[in-house]
């Protein structure tokens, strides 16, 4: 069926009082961003609904993208017809035909009239159109409580809009309404999931990735960027910040006892992320820590690491089991990438037996051997910031040349 528009219903934001307009505007611009490849499409973010005027664009492609936009409760592809009962009835018949098989089906008509000047009122439209459809199709029966098929009719100033399907959106809040956060992105399974969950609550996320050439490979960096591209499908585009970490890691390795390597390393990462958070006017740090999963993620470790900052550290997957995290990673299509076996800077120099209960006082003591300010400054001087677009790929630089072979 050639639809004329997709009617989008807002999620939780309808309950947000005076912030409502901010939410609606943000969602509108996020939707426009996500649909930027379709210049013919017009997006109208109104008070109660958001309307995507297709102007001939492929509705399946548009809906595929809308499914990933946070802040959308659900949406219905709709067809616009002339403001007459006859035109409405004719389109309703077509819609029923498309949904109806040989079996019996229950249905109802659900009318909404925003134009109160229109001569048929809500009840009368429900009755007349319902009656008409019953006459046309033997298999139909009315059930107003639990219908298998609902024909929605919206009477507006510019036409009557019919729809027969409601497709679930991803929910959450529009990205950007929840402030800015910095995600510590390693390349493993957990951090992209943490980023996704943060974005779901409206946070506009920037990626902080530590890399230590030659100990970490160019592929590890490319993998982190490609993961960012996957996450950007939920928000349009994401800033990716590469933070050089080689000197810091080498220095720690040569001056800190093995059991404390990991703890001190994490404290340095957190200090750097804190500096970037302040520099870039973000408000919180996100990471993929899950309680008890590895040595750095015991409560004692968290305390010893957290010690270097007063910024909120938000851990969206803190209480998820590994299997639960993997399930989300598969759903958001980051899992296969995450399991590619490139060493990241969390695994190199990993001591065979890191302290699972590091002592805070001793950690601070060992750190006094380091020129923390100098190390940090040199690292921050070397950061690189790039913009990663939705679905952008980095691992396979020869993809276009290879496509010629294929």
């Amino acid at each position: 069926m050639q639809y004329s528009e997709i009617m989008v219903r807002y999620g939780e934001l309808s309950t947000k009082g005076k912030n409502r307009q901010t939410f609606i505007d943000r969602l509108g611009s996020n939707v426009r961003n996500v649909l930027h490849e379709f210049p013919e499409v017009k997006v109208h973010a109104n008070r109660d609904r958001l309307h995507v005027d297709l102007n001939g664009a492929n509705s399946d492609e548009i809906m595929k993208r809308l499914k990933l936009v946070f802040g959308i409760q659900n949406f219905s592809p709709s067809v616009q017809v002339e403001r007459t009962f006859e035109a409405t009835a004719e389109m309703a018949v077509k819609m029923v035909q498309e949904q109806l098989g040989d079996a019996k089906m229950t249905f109802k008509v659900n009318t909404r009239r925003s134009d109160h000047e229109f001569e048929i009122d809500t009840n009368e439209m429900n009755m007349r159109l319902g009656g008409y459809l019953l006459e046309q199709f033997d298999q139909l029966a009315v059930d107003v409580h639990n219908p298998e098929l609902t024909i929605r009719v919206e009477i507006r100033n510019n036409g009557i809009f019919l729809s027969s399907e409601t497709i679930q959106g991803i929910g959450g809040l529009p990205v950007g309404t929840g402030g800015k956060g910095m995600l510590m992105l390693s390349g493993g399974i957990d951090s992209p999931v943490a980023g996704f969950l943060g974005m779901k609550r409206g946070v506009s996320m920037e990626m902080v990735h530590f890399f230590s050439p030659p100990y970490t490979s160019p592929q590890a960096l490319a993998k982190a960027k490609e993961l960012t591209g996957k996450m950007a499908r939920y928000s349009g585009s994401i800033k990716f910040i590469e933070v050089p970490f080689t000197e810091i890691q080498e220095t720690i390795k040569s001056s800190v006892p093995e059991g404390y390597l990991m703890t001190v390393q994490r404290r340095m990462m957190l200090r750097l992320t804190q500096a970037l958070t302040i520099q870039r006017h973000a408000m919180a740090i996100f990471n993929g820590e899950s309680l008890g999963q590895v040595a750095s993620q015991t409560m004692e470790s968290m305390m010893a690491i957290n010690d270097v900052t007063t910024l909120p550290i938000l851990r969206p997957v803190v209480s998820l089991d590994k299997n639960e995290i993997i399930k989300i990673a598969k759903d958001i299509d980051t899992y296969e990438l995450s399991i590619l076996p490139f060493e990241d800077c969390c695994t190199i120099f990993a001591p065979p037996s890191p302290k699972t209960r590091p002592n805070l006082e001793r950690t601070r003591l060992y750190e006094q051997r380091l020129d923390i300010d100098g190390l940090m400054q040199r690292s921050l001087d070397g950061i690189k910031i790039s913009e990663v677009k939705a679905g952008e790929e980095f691992l396979n630089q020869e993809a276009d040349a290879f496509a010629e072979l294929l």
Binding site: S217, E336, L395, E398, F402, A403, L405, L406
Partner: protein
């Protein structure tokens, strides 16, 4: 030369061979190597996998490369048996499977597994009631071919899928070696199937390469263990040139599928119309939706299959006695036997199998040659 033996093998396309050569010459690194040269081969391998996955509507991780149809069939049957023997030791297949399935099943029988071979009717089709009756609590695999390689009968895959929806633990395997590119992809890649076997050289890719589809979440044991390639499921250094060539051949096959199916069907119909109804001619491949468009199996009663093959060969037309696998052993077709065709008739059977490069003009030439030979054979026909 008129080549009517495309079910035995196909000619590798020049552009596919060009890809094979280019990859062999330029991107010959080992995909498992850590350096950039190996990484490049890995990327090309994965890009090929993604292309195949996209063409079939699967996830890339559900495509696993093999050396061809025989390995794929062996793997799914034996790999399921090893993986699931704790849950049961009963497998179901049909009486007309390719020997790669049949002999794998027989090997398992020697190891104490129990196999039910579903019979076929005189059209070469299994009955869904037989399948339902055969399923037991300890059944672990149902393996059914998409298109029979000897007569071209198409098994009711969607009906099998429906039945197996009530038995979610049973592995459902389809041998699609003869079915790919024949206008039935939605039936093969149905919503219940767990494993599907494909072979490259049946669709203009080089020899020695194939792949299986393995639904994510379904487990089979590896048969080839070693370096852990293919997600630890099929070890052995990846045959990257052949894999890339096969991905290209599959793209070309599916791009031209509609046209090829129509053309093959027209050729089959032309020959079928020409030969049917004559004395001593018995046709096993019908002209309806229960049969694939590219296979035509018939017998000239009283004349041995080999004699017919060689007679056509002398006129520059290559056909086959039923399957290439059994033809050199002078065995009667096992499919025809299962269809309860008398031995005397079955040994007179030959198979024409068509490809997208065949033309209606070739069918006309075939028909003329057929008339000459048929007249000659008249002397020896009973």
């Amino acid at each position: 030369m008129i080549y009517f033996d495309n079910s035995a093998t196909t000619q590798a396309l020049p552009e596919v061979v060009a890809t094979y050569a280019k990859v062999s010459e330029q991107i010959w690194g080992n995909p498992s190597s850590l350096h950039a040269f190996g990484e490049s081969a890995w990327n090309l391998l994965e890009q090929s996998r993604s292309q195949i996955a996209d063409l079939l509507g699967t996830k890339p991780s559900e495509i696993l490369f093999t050396s061809g149809g025989t390995e794929g069939d062996n793997w799914v049957v034996k790999g399921t048996a090893i993986e699931k023997q704790a849950f049961g030791k009963h497998l179901i297949t049909t009486m007309i499977e390719h020997p790669a399935i049949r002999n794998s099943m027989e090997q398992l029988e020697m190891l104490g597994f129990d196999v039910t071979y579903l019979p076929v009717d005189d059209h070469g089709l299994i009955s869904i009631d037989d399948l339902k009756a055969a399923i037991r609590p300890d059944t672990i695999l149902v393996s059914v071919m998409a298109v029979n390689n000897e007569v071209g009968s198409k098994q009711p895959l969607l009906e099998v899928a429906e039945v197996l929806k009530d038995y979610p633990k049973i592995h459902f395997h389809i041998d699609a070696v003869q079915g790919i590119g024949k206008g039935m992809q939605s039936k093969i890649m149905n919503d219940r199937v767990d494993f599907v076997t494909f072979s490259g050289h049946k669709f203009h890719a080089p020899r020695g390469i194939g792949f299986i589809y393995a639904r994510s979440g379904r487990k089979i044991a590896p048969l080839l263990t070693g370096g852990g390639q293919e997600r630890n499921l099929r070890s052995g250094t990846e045959n990257v040139p052949a894999i890339v060539a096969m991905a290209k051949a599959l793209r070309l096959l599916l791009a031209g599928e509609k046209k090829a199916v129509a053309s093959e069907l027209a050729i089959k119909q032309s020959i079928l119309e020409h030969i049917k109804g004559r004395r001593n001619i018995i046709i096993f491949s019908e002209d309806n939706d229960n049969f694939a468009p590219h296979i035509l199996c018939f017998a000239i009663e009283g004349v041995r299959g080999e004699t017919i093959v060689h007679a056509f060969e002398e006129k520059g037309i290559y056909i086959s006695t039923t399957s290439a696998c059994s033809s050199k052993k002078h065995l009667a077709s096992s499919t025809l036997k299962a269809m309860k065709v008398a031995d005397a008739v079955a040994t007179s059977a030959v198979r024409i199998s068509l490809g997208d490069q065949n033309t209606l003009a070739e069918a006309e030439t075939f028909n003329q040659v057929f008339d000459q030979l048929y007249a000659d054979f008249g002397k020896i026909m009973a």
